[in-house]
């Protein structure tokens, strides 16, 4: 049951799009910064397989420029 957090940076001009994309995805919660183009993303998935699929999906998001992990936890 992994819980991870990331700093997500949007591609130029895509902050709103990135927030919308991430908010729409299952297992994802976001906290957008209100004065800079940075989004905190917290993911909470039921198992490692789901986590892997989610990460693949995240990598393909056109609005996402980069994703830096800041926290990881996996309760067995």
């Amino acid at each position: 049951m992994p819980i991870l957090s990331y700093l997500a940076l949007p591609r130029d001009g895509s902050m709103d799009r990135l927030c919308a994309d991430l908010s729409a995805m299952e297992y994802c919660e976001i906290i957008p910064a209100d004065n800079q183009e940075v989004v905190v993303l917290v993911t909470d998935t039921p198992d490692e397989q789901t986590e892997k699929i989610l990460q693949e999906t995240l990598k393909k998001l056109p609005s996402l420029h980069s994703l830096s992990m800041t926290f990881g936890h996996n309760a067995e």
Binding site: I3, L7, D34, D44, T70
Partner: protein, 772 residues
Amino acid sequence: MKLDRRTFIKSAAASSAIAAAGSIFPGISFADWKKQEGASGQISWKKAPCRFCGTGCGVLVGVSGDRAVAVKGDPNCSVNKGLCCVKGFHVVQALYGKDRIRKAQVRKGDKMVEVPISEALDLIASKIQETISQTGKDSVSIYGSGQWTIPDGYVASKLFKGCLGTNNVEANARLCMASAVTGFMTSFGIDEPMGCYEDIEHANVFVTWGNNMAEMHPVLFSRMLASRKRRSDVTVIDLATRSTRSSQASDKSILFKPSTDLAVANAICYEIIRNDWVNWDFVNKHTTFHKGKTNIGYGTEDHFKFKDKPQDITFEEYKEFLKDYTPEKAERISGVSAMDIKYLASLYGDPTKKVTSFWCMGMNQHVRGTWINNLVYNIHLLTGKISTPGNSPFSLTGQPSACGTVREVGTLTHKLPHGVVMNEEHRKMAAEIWDVPLANIDPKPTYHTVEMFRALDRGDIRFMWIQVTNPMITMPNLNRYRNGALKDDRFIVVSDVYPTPTTDVADVILPAAMWVEQEGMFGNSERRTQHFDRIVPGPGETMSDTWQIIEVARRLGFEKQFPWGEDEYIEKIWEEYRRFHAGPKHNMAPYALLKKRSGVQWPFVNGKETRWRFNAKYDPACKPGSDFDFYGKKDGKAWIWARPYEPAAESPDDEYNFWLNTGRVIEHWHTGSMTRRIPVLHRAMPESYVEINPEDAMDLGVVTGELVKIISRRGSVTMKASINGRGVPPRGMVFVPFFDESYKINEVTLDAFCPISKQPDYKKCAVRLEKV
């Protein structure tokens, strides 16, 4: 309140990401996070200004049950935008020191005995009555500080000035920013900075005058460095008497000999005029030229009196006066090279650059503190670099409400909440609002702080109530004033949160509520009033300083003037106090708005804060049709002063051959009575030390950690040497931080003061050193 493990881990994950973002993107704000966390049920977050310095950083205090458990920067507060310094991040721990004073104590024989607080309050009231009946109204006094909340100071002034009829009201802000006040009053006729912290994001050049902002105002210093990092056209100049962390982070460090900033400032003005960098349009429309008395003394003797006598002069006479301050002549006085003086003048004089000057204790704790404030204003006035975004002469403060409580409420002997006791109209206003007879308010000021403690020593004052401050550490020439307080027929009441050297001299100790254990307001350096709620209960019988004064006032028969209930008194006091400042020059925000926002700047007019005063674009108090209006002066014009260089009260000689300079460190606030009880801060800086120049240390045969005795004509202190530490004084100077009560450096300092502001000079006296 229950929190499941998974929610807790998710919260930790989000916290981790937010912390990482904070370190990568300075100033980043996640306002929504506060709401989400609050909703999680684990912790609730309440806004407050930080308890410590005068910057006024907004913090969010995390509360779990009845206990403050966490703190973080308030992203909604424009002062710090979510940042905090090392003290701010640990501020809530200051509430929970093991030796917190929880019960009232009364001296019985040689011992302090715990008593119910009501018994202590009865004793205080009866002692005030007894003292007044035996030795007159001016033998009782109250001494507070810039740590008083606005309501604390207001009720103190109302009781002592309005009801008891004595002007024996002073505050330790006299020791830290009185020269800033007299600087403003003499140059502009009205107190407090014209600019705001937003100047930091607009300025191209920062000159810090004797101000180690990296340690004393670290959040503002970070904003300054962040501005430099973001833009390619920002220069920071550190102009100081010793090398510090601020010098290291600046683009250029310039050292001057103690007290010679007066010569440097005059030389900058000389150069500005010589190169015709004067903004003539501004100068002709908005300034006039003046001179005052010279050779004005140092106030080291009891009953010292001084009154300046301003005279009008012409620009030509001012220009003639400056001929004594060519860069070359100023170099000989100050040790600053003529080239560096010309460089500074070129920065101030360049019309394409916006310049902000910052200062704090270096200019204010100065026997010519008022003068050096005037002279830095001169530079900004000559170039017209004032009252516009980024162009700001900016006097910072060291205490959380030095401006709010001492300067605005007027808790100084000559002041009233609006105006001064000497002015009949101002007394009439106070008498009407306070509901006291006009005759109650004495038109004559009594004692400024140093003279008040001298009066206590002499016996002219017999009763003193000290709240929220620690004068038995902070008074210069301390031995005299401690001995005075200990004399048999003196009665000293101390309201505080921890035992200190000041509670050691008390006959009654009252347990005070601290910071967010009470409701109140502070006022910071940029005219921002910041409200905080009572967020957690205080321990034992602790009581707010405001309520202590109200209780005593009622015992003295002043129920009519202090009628409020415990659930409403802060709101009622605020709305009464606000009447003093009604009008476009100083209107304060209503209570409901203060409760809602993380600070509101005054003048607050028609629902808007005023960021730059005296500029008609921003300040509704300016005359219609004007561009600038310095309305503190009758003709709307600011004063440019001819003030000469004069030396310090005591300079090194053959016997006492070093300058002693004192000050602070980043880890500790003021006398350390709170921060030394925060384990992480205490461990980081466990004791004070004496900084010695490496070459002087070699001459003395001293290495870091060895003991050195610092001896003056007044006392001595022995402490460890620090060589090439965070600060390095020039040859012939030592520096000692004053936070550590184990090393009372003020037993060594001199009680000389600026004759105009009456603020002592803690930065300059003569000492000799002995290796122990």
